[in-house]
Protein backbone atom coordinates (compact mmCIF):
# COMPACT_ATOMS: atom_id res chain seq x y z
CA UNK A 1 0.00 0.00 0.00
CA UNK A 2 0.94 3.67 0.04
CA UNK A 3 4.02 4.48 2.12
CA UNK A 4 4.12 7.16 4.75
CA UNK A 5 7.63 7.86 6.01
CA UNK A 6 8.68 9.06 9.46
CA UNK A 7 12.05 10.24 10.70
CA UNK A 8 13.60 9.51 13.14
CA UNK A 9 12.44 6.05 14.13
CA UNK A 10 13.64 6.57 17.70
CA UNK A 11 14.56 9.62 19.74
CA UNK A 12 15.80 9.86 23.32
CA UNK A 13 16.01 13.30 24.87
CA UNK A 14 16.19 14.94 28.26
CA UNK A 15 13.11 16.54 29.76
CA UNK A 16 12.86 20.19 28.78
CA UNK A 17 14.63 19.80 25.47
CA UNK A 18 13.00 20.40 22.12
CA UNK A 19 12.25 17.59 19.69
CA UNK A 20 11.11 17.68 16.09
CA UNK A 21 9.38 14.72 14.52
CA UNK A 22 9.19 14.51 10.75
CA UNK A 23 6.67 12.89 8.46
CA UNK A 24 6.56 12.55 4.71
CA UNK A 25 2.98 11.68 3.69
CA UNK A 26 1.92 10.07 0.43
CA UNK A 27 2.36 12.78 -2.20
CA UNK A 28 -1.20 13.05 -3.53
CA UNK A 29 -2.94 12.77 -0.17
CA UNK A 30 -4.89 15.80 1.02
CA UNK A 31 -5.64 14.78 4.61
CA UNK A 32 -2.93 14.45 7.24
CA UNK A 33 -3.01 13.43 10.89
CA UNK A 34 -0.80 13.10 13.96
CA UNK A 35 -1.61 10.52 16.64
CA UNK A 36 0.05 9.63 19.94
CA UNK A 37 0.19 6.09 21.33
CA UNK A 38 1.42 5.42 24.83
CA UNK A 39 2.80 1.90 25.25
CA UNK A 40 0.01 -0.63 25.47
CA UNK A 41 -2.75 1.87 24.79
CA UNK A 42 -4.76 3.04 21.81
CA UNK A 43 -3.86 5.76 19.32
CA UNK A 44 -5.08 9.18 20.41
CA UNK A 45 -5.66 11.98 17.95
CA UNK A 46 -3.56 15.13 18.21
CA UNK A 47 -4.15 17.28 15.12
CA UNK A 48 -5.22 17.00 11.50
CA UNK A 49 -4.81 18.95 8.30
CA UNK A 50 -6.68 19.34 5.06
CA UNK A 51 -4.82 20.69 2.06
CA UNK A 52 -2.04 21.89 4.32
CA UNK A 53 -4.20 23.77 6.82
CA UNK A 54 -5.08 22.71 10.37
CA UNK A 55 -8.62 21.36 10.67
CA UNK A 56 -8.90 20.44 14.31
CA UNK A 57 -6.81 19.91 17.42
CA UNK A 58 -7.56 17.66 20.37
CA UNK A 59 -7.19 18.44 24.05
CA UNK A 60 -3.92 16.47 23.96
CA UNK A 61 -2.44 19.08 21.64
CA UNK A 62 -0.78 21.13 24.35
CA UNK A 63 0.63 24.62 23.97
CA UNK A 64 4.07 23.03 23.85
CA UNK A 65 3.15 21.34 20.57
CA UNK A 66 3.39 22.96 17.18
CA UNK A 67 3.00 21.69 13.65
CA UNK A 68 4.42 23.00 10.44
CA UNK A 69 4.81 22.14 6.80
CA UNK A 70 8.12 23.87 6.03
CA UNK A 71 8.33 23.37 2.29
CA UNK A 72 4.88 22.16 1.31
CA UNK A 73 5.78 18.49 1.33
CA UNK A 74 6.71 16.98 4.68
CA UNK A 75 5.14 17.83 8.04
CA UNK A 76 6.82 18.40 11.40
CA UNK A 77 5.55 18.01 14.94
CA UNK A 78 7.61 19.98 17.40
CA UNK A 79 7.46 19.65 21.17
CA UNK A 80 9.10 22.41 23.17
CA UNK A 81 9.73 21.93 26.02
CA UNK A 82 9.27 18.20 26.38
CA UNK A 83 7.82 16.56 29.49
CA UNK A 84 8.06 13.02 30.82
CA UNK A 85 4.46 12.32 29.79
CA UNK A 86 5.35 13.05 26.17
CA UNK A 87 7.09 9.67 26.00
CA UNK A 88 5.10 7.69 23.44
CA UNK A 89 5.06 6.56 19.84
CA UNK A 90 3.95 9.32 17.52
CA UNK A 91 2.29 8.20 14.32
CA UNK A 92 1.46 10.32 11.35
CA UNK A 93 -1.14 9.22 8.83
CA UNK A 94 -2.35 10.51 5.51
CA UNK A 95 -5.41 9.91 3.39
CA UNK A 96 -6.42 10.66 -0.20
CA UNK A 97 -10.08 10.90 0.80
CA UNK A 98 -12.11 11.26 3.96
CA UNK A 99 -11.81 7.57 4.72
CA UNK A 100 -8.79 5.30 4.77
CA UNK A 101 -5.85 6.59 6.75
CA UNK A 102 -2.44 5.14 6.06
CA UNK A 103 -0.11 5.18 9.03
CA UNK A 104 3.63 5.71 9.04
CA UNK A 105 5.98 3.46 11.04
CA UNK A 106 6.01 5.86 13.98
CA UNK A 107 8.66 7.70 15.96
CA UNK A 108 9.38 6.27 19.39
CA UNK A 109 10.09 9.15 21.72
CA UNK A 110 11.56 8.65 25.16
CA UNK A 111 11.85 11.66 27.45
CA UNK A 112 14.18 11.15 30.40
Amino acid sequence: GPKVLQIPSHQIIDMGQMVTLNCDPVSNHLYFYWYKQILGQQMEFLVNFYNGKVMEKSKLFKDQFSVERPDGSYFTLKIQPTALEDSAVYFCASSPTEDTQYFGPGTRLLVL
Partner: protein, 112 residues
Protein backbone atom coordinates in the same frame (compact mmCIF):
# COMPACT_ATOMS: atom_id res chain seq x y z
CA UNK B 1 -15.62 9.48 28.55
CA UNK B 2 -14.52 6.81 26.16
CA UNK B 3 -16.39 7.36 22.92
CA UNK B 4 -15.44 4.00 21.41
CA UNK B 5 -15.43 0.95 23.64
CA UNK B 6 -14.09 -2.49 22.92
CA UNK B 7 -14.43 -5.85 24.59
CA UNK B 8 -12.95 -8.14 25.56
CA UNK B 9 -9.58 -6.64 26.39
CA UNK B 10 -7.91 -9.90 25.38
CA UNK B 11 -9.02 -13.08 23.70
CA UNK B 12 -7.42 -16.46 23.15
CA UNK B 13 -8.79 -18.89 20.59
CA UNK B 14 -7.59 -22.13 19.07
CA UNK B 15 -6.53 -22.28 15.47
CA UNK B 16 -9.61 -22.80 13.30
CA UNK B 17 -12.05 -21.26 15.77
CA UNK B 18 -13.98 -18.03 15.29
CA UNK B 19 -12.88 -14.99 17.27
CA UNK B 20 -15.53 -12.37 18.01
CA UNK B 21 -14.48 -8.85 18.93
CA UNK B 22 -17.01 -6.31 20.12
CA UNK B 23 -17.19 -2.56 19.74
CA UNK B 24 -19.70 0.12 20.70
CA UNK B 25 -19.78 3.86 20.23
CA UNK B 26 -21.48 6.92 21.62
CA UNK B 27 -21.64 9.54 18.89
CA UNK B 28 -24.51 8.97 16.45
CA UNK B 29 -22.82 11.27 13.91
CA UNK B 30 -20.01 8.76 13.36
CA UNK B 31 -20.32 7.43 9.84
CA UNK B 32 -17.15 5.48 9.16
CA UNK B 33 -15.96 2.50 11.19
CA UNK B 34 -12.61 0.95 10.31
CA UNK B 35 -10.89 -1.87 12.12
CA UNK B 36 -7.12 -1.66 12.30
CA UNK B 37 -4.76 -4.38 13.40
CA UNK B 38 -1.42 -3.77 14.96
CA UNK B 39 1.46 -6.16 15.50
CA UNK B 40 4.02 -5.48 18.24
CA UNK B 41 6.34 -2.58 17.43
CA UNK B 42 4.56 -1.92 14.14
CA UNK B 43 2.15 0.71 12.94
CA UNK B 44 -1.60 0.06 12.70
CA UNK B 45 -2.84 -1.17 9.35
CA UNK B 46 -6.36 -1.04 7.98
CA UNK B 47 -8.01 -4.44 8.04
CA UNK B 48 -11.62 -3.79 7.04
CA UNK B 49 -14.13 -0.94 7.30
CA UNK B 50 -17.87 -0.32 7.14
CA UNK B 51 -20.30 2.57 6.77
CA UNK B 52 -23.73 2.66 8.45
CA UNK B 53 -25.56 2.17 5.12
CA UNK B 54 -24.53 -1.49 5.44
CA UNK B 55 -25.07 -3.91 8.29
CA UNK B 56 -22.44 -6.38 7.13
CA UNK B 57 -19.08 -6.21 5.41
CA UNK B 58 -17.06 -9.27 4.53
CA UNK B 59 -13.48 -9.62 3.37
CA UNK B 60 -12.18 -13.14 3.32
CA UNK B 61 -12.16 -14.52 6.85
CA UNK B 62 -12.99 -11.12 8.37
CA UNK B 63 -16.59 -9.91 8.72
CA UNK B 64 -18.02 -6.80 10.36
CA UNK B 65 -21.57 -6.96 11.69
CA UNK B 66 -23.07 -3.52 12.31
CA UNK B 67 -26.14 -2.55 14.36
CA UNK B 68 -26.80 1.14 13.92
CA UNK B 69 -29.79 1.24 16.28
CA UNK B 70 -27.78 -0.16 19.17
CA UNK B 71 -24.55 1.61 18.13
CA UNK B 72 -22.70 -1.67 18.19
CA UNK B 73 -20.50 -3.55 15.81
CA UNK B 74 -18.44 -6.70 15.93
CA UNK B 75 -15.57 -8.20 14.02
CA UNK B 76 -15.67 -11.93 13.37
CA UNK B 77 -12.50 -13.74 12.43
CA UNK B 78 -13.39 -17.17 11.11
CA UNK B 79 -10.92 -20.05 10.82
CA UNK B 80 -8.46 -18.14 13.01
CA UNK B 81 -4.78 -18.57 12.16
CA UNK B 82 -1.69 -18.01 14.36
CA UNK B 83 -0.77 -15.15 12.04
CA UNK B 84 -3.97 -13.37 13.12
CA UNK B 85 -2.46 -12.86 16.58
CA UNK B 86 -2.40 -9.08 17.01
CA UNK B 87 -4.14 -6.20 18.71
CA UNK B 88 -7.32 -5.15 16.93
CA UNK B 89 -8.59 -1.60 17.22
CA UNK B 90 -12.10 -0.51 16.40
CA UNK B 91 -12.25 3.13 15.33
CA UNK B 92 -14.87 5.66 14.29
CA UNK B 93 -14.97 9.04 12.62
CA UNK B 94 -17.44 11.59 11.38
CA UNK B 95 -17.66 13.15 7.94
CA UNK B 96 -15.13 15.41 6.30
CA UNK B 97 -11.83 13.76 7.08
CA UNK B 98 -12.32 13.99 10.82
CA UNK B 99 -9.97 12.28 13.23
CA UNK B 100 -10.28 8.61 13.99
CA UNK B 101 -11.39 7.87 17.53
CA UNK B 102 -9.88 4.57 18.55
CA UNK B 103 -11.10 2.04 21.06
CA UNK B 104 -8.74 0.57 23.63
CA UNK B 105 -8.11 -2.54 21.56
CA UNK B 106 -8.56 -6.29 21.84
CA UNK B 107 -5.45 -8.43 21.90
CA UNK B 108 -6.09 -11.70 20.12
CA UNK B 109 -3.91 -14.75 20.55
CA UNK B 110 -4.45 -17.73 18.28
CA UNK B 111 -2.96 -20.94 19.59
CA UNK B 112 -1.96 -23.65 17.12
Amino acid sequence: QQQVRQSPQSLTVWEGETAILNCSYEDSTFDYFPWYWQFPRESPALLIAIRPVSNKKEDGRFTIFFNKREKKLSLHITDSQPGDSATYFCAASGQGGRALIFGTGTTVSVSP
